[in-house]
Structures are given as C-alpha cells and as structure tokens.
C-alpha cells in the first residue's frame, strides 16, 4: 500500500518486495528465542520465503490484529487472547495448541532465601514477586498457590513475567513464580525450583493462520513448521511442554 512505500524502499537490504514468499507473524514475546530459531530453519528450508516476526504482549498483539495489522499468522501465549481474535472472525479454521508453559520458582543464583519448595514462599522472611492477577502468569500463579494451599504475601506484584524475573535476577526478591521457559532463558543468573505435582496448571500457546493473510499457503506452511517435530524439539529445549 501507499503507506508502505517508504519502509519498503528503505528496507531493501533485508526484504525484497516479491508479492509472495513473504509473511508476517505476530508472536508472544515469550516465544522470542525458540521462534527465531524455528524461523531461521523454515527460511533455510523454503527458498525465497521471508518471515517477519513482530513480538509483543499477547493481548496487545491481539488488539493489533483486531485493529487491522496486516498479519498472516498469530502465535498467542494464552487461549483467552486468541479468543479475542477468533471472536472478531479473523482466524482461519480453529487455533491449535502447540505448546504449554508451566510455572517454576525462580531464585537468584545461590538461592539466598533458601527456597526449596512452594511452601517456603509463605515464610515472611522470603520476599516474593508475583505477576499481577490480571495478567496470565499472575492468574496461573493464583491457581497454583490455591491448588497447593499456600498463601503468599508478595513483596511486589509485577505487570509481566519478565519484570518478575528481572527482580530475581537483580536480587530484589528472593523468589518469583515465573514460567519455566523464562528460567531457562535467564541462564546462570537464575536457578529454577520445581513446584512438583504433575497436575499443576499450565497455559496453552495457540497458533492460528489469519483469514486476511496475503499468502495463505506460506502462512499455513509456517504454522505447520511450528507444529512439526523439529519445531516442538526447539520449543522443548527452551523449556516448553510440548506434545
């Protein structure tokens, strides 16, 4: 479109304005690391294909889709946000769950608070960061704590899981309930403590191809590659529960 003229011209180094072979994907920010890998592999496998991923918070991305973002596929971190898009009748077919994420206790390297289990979080000597209950990781934390019968007075509520993790990394708190994947991504600065219990609540990551896709075939191929065995193995390495 006319408004795209400037960036198209300026972006000549990375993309070529071939009418097909180029798709745009909106993806939850927590997928950043593994999805970049999947995209690289997909592009290597599919000559001429060009995948641009725009990461962000799931709900913000959903709003963008509803507001008309020219997108081919959407990878959401929760079924609720995918629902917003589906309700707007923008999804082709049914969204597919391609991965799950569960919570872990993240503690700073060396575990200064001596946190060994979920129950330890109830101790008044342990400062805990939780996500605010309005956001998915917070809602999940509420479920987990309720299921375990542990009542925690958090030192802080955080707007998203990364903020909570940052507080652990910097040692501001002794522990936080975050996603497993975040603990994996954070590397050595953070240790994970398993919550235990196989029936612990999880969140579902859903993928969907969008109805207005300019290149439905390529978009479908990309979604398929996320669901493929190779895709799942990358996601599993990053800490996601797949299968």
């Amino acid at each position: 479109s006319a408004a795209d003229g400037a960036p198209g011209a300026a972006g000549g180094a990375t993309g070529d304005p071939a009418p097909t072979g180029s798709i745009t994907v909106l993806a939850a920010a927590s997928l950043t690391g593994p999805l970049d890998e999947i995209v690289d592999a997909f592009e290597a496998r599919t000559p001429g294909a060009e995948v641009t991923v725009s990461y962000g918070g799931s709900s913000a991305l959903a709003q963008q889709v509803v507001a008309g973002s020219p997108v081919d596929a959407f990878l959401s971190a929760s079924s609720a946000t995918m629902r917003t898009v589906a309700d707007a009748d923008l999804v082709e077919g049914e969204p597919v769950t391609f991965a799950r994420n569960s919570l872990q206790i993240a503690v700073p390297a060396g575990d200064p608070g001596g946190v060994g289990s979920l129950a330890d979080l109830a101790s008044p000597d342990v400062s805990v960061a939780l996500c605010a209950p309005e956001v998915p990781c917070g809602a999940l934390a509420v479920q987990v704590l309720e299921a375990a019968g542990v009542s925690v007075v958090p030192a802080t509520l955080e707007p998203d899981v990364k903020s909570a993790l940052t507080k652990v990394e910097l040692g501001e708190v002794d522990a936080a309930l975050v996603y497993r994947t975040d603990v994996v991504a954070a590397g050595d600065a953070v240790q994970g403590v398993e919550i235990g219990g196989d029936d612990a609540p999880t969140t579902a990551y859903e993928a969907a191809r969008l109805r207005d896709s300019a290149d439905p075939a390529l978009a479908d191929a990309f979604v398929a590659s996320v669901l493929s065995a190779d895709g799942r193995s990358v996601l599993a390495d990053a800490g996601f529960t797949v299968g």
Binding site: E158, S163, L170, E172
Partner: protein
C-alpha cells in the same frame, strides 16, 4: 490564513485520538467500572505520588535550573555536557529508566546495597519508589521550563540586589524566584502531567502493588490484559484528572508573578 491548515491538522492529531477514545468508551458501564475500591486506590496513589514527585522536582529542579544558568561562566564543554545530561531521562525509554533505577537503588544496586546494609532501607516496591521513578522521568520538564524562565530574567535586577547587599541566595529567593513564578508554575504543571501519566519506569522500579504502588497508568496496563473496556474507562479517568489539573492550573500560572 493558510497557516491555519497545519495548525488545525496539528490540533486534530493531538485531540482526535482522545476523541476516538471517548467514542469507544463503554459509557453504559463506565460508572460501575470506575466505582470500585481498586480504582479509587489507584487514583489515590497516582495523585499522591504525582504531587510528591512534583514537589520533589521543585525542590531539586529549581536549584538545578539555577545551576544550569550559572553554568554560563563555565568552560563550554562542561556546560554542554551538563545540559545534555539533564535531558537524559527524556531519551531513555521509561522502562530502561526503571531498570537503571534498579541498578542504582535496588537491593543489590550501586547505592541500594549500602543503603540496605547500613540503614536497612530498601526503596523498590514502595511509594517512595513510585515517587522517585516519576521524578526521574518528569523533572527534566521542570528544569528546562525553569531554566528558560531564568534566562528571561533581567540580570540587571541581580546586580541591583547585590548592590543593596543581598547574598546570591537572598537575591534568588526574593527577586529572581518571584519573577520566574509563571515559568516555575508552567514547569510544575508539565512535570505533574508527565508524572501522572508515567508508566514504564514506575512499573519496573516500583511494581504494581494495589493500594501501594499501583497507579492509574499501571491499572490501565493491567486491565488491558484482561478487560480492554475497563482499560478504556480507566484511561478516561486519567484523562479527566490530567485535563482537569491542566485547566485548573493553567489560568493561575498565566496570571502569577508580576501583575
């Protein structure tokens, strides 16, 4: 009259988004959405922290602006650096500003560690953290406004005050400051407005504890995740408070000072 075209386009650009927000607002449920304890808490925290941040900015920013004008006598490179440095919080995305504040004042931060070790004081996750974050982000507005106003003051009046035996501080307090009152008021309003709308640095440095550190903008952000209509309702509340303060103060500040 051709000038009117860009002026009105500019005005439209600034106003129409807010109008769109109004149009989309869930008017029928607005009352019930806003009449909750949580919203009142957030409003209270927002107003308290913005007022405190403005006060702190006045306390620290007015002397700093004065230092900036006094820096005219310094070597040029120093002067330029000082000015640029004051503007740093403008360039830094607020979230990064929040991280920087954690690096500085967090429990393991540059100053935070000794503070914690010696006094047992931890700043993050408190109202103080909200105020500091807002001050960090909003104070440059005040400083730049006041500096501009200070530059406009007749130096001759300073000389006159000195010839009457006034110390620099007495002259500043009794002559310069009253004369720049409109500029200070303007800066304070900008600073307050910016503090009221502050989100990124606050949420990073202070978290979003309801009733303690959760401000209206963080409420908006959280509501967006779960209930977009509530987010719009809260945004409208924020807008109403902000515009109300601007309307209230604007006129005062325009008539403060001489005559």
């Amino acid at each position: 009259m051709l000038v009117l075209v860009p002026a009105l386009v500019g005005l439209a650009l600034l106003v129409l988004p807010a109008v769109a927000l109004l149009v989309r607002a869930p008017w029928s449920t607005l009352g019930s959405r806003l009449a909750s304890e949580a919203v009142l808490d957030a409003l209270r925290v927002s107003l308290t922290s913005a007022v405190l941040a403005t006060a702190l900015s006045l306390l620290l920013g007015v002397p700093l602006a004065w230092l900036l004008t006094a820096s005219d006598a310094w070597p040029r490179a120093w002067r330029r650096l000082l000015r640029a440095v004051v503007t740093v919080p403008l360039v830094l995305p607020p979230v990064v500003g929040g991280i920087a504040l954690l690096y500085l004042l967090g429990r393991t931060g540059l100053l935070g560690r000794p503070l914690d070790a010696v006094f047992g004081v931890t700043i993050p996750f408190t109202l103080a953290a909200v105020v500091i974050a807002q001050t960090f982000v909003a104070m440059p507005f005040l400083v730049l406004s006041v500096e501009g106003a200070l530059r406009g003051v007749d130096r001759g009046l300073d000389e006159a005050a000195a010839s009457l035996g006034a110390s620099r501080w007495y002259a500043f307090r009794r002559v310069t400051l009253p004369l720049v009152a409109p500029g200070v008021a303007a800066g304070a309003v900008l600073c307050f407005a910016r503090a009221l709308g502050e989100f990124g640095a606050t949420i990073t440095f202070a978290g979003t504890f309801p009733g303690r550190t959760q401000t209206l903008p963080t409420s908006v952000y959280l509501a967006q995740q779960s209930d977009p209509d509530s987010a719009v309702a809260l945004s409208l509340l924020l807008l109403a408070v902000g515009v109300g303060v601007l309307l209230l103060l604007r006129d005062r500040w325009l008539t403060t000072g001489v005559r």
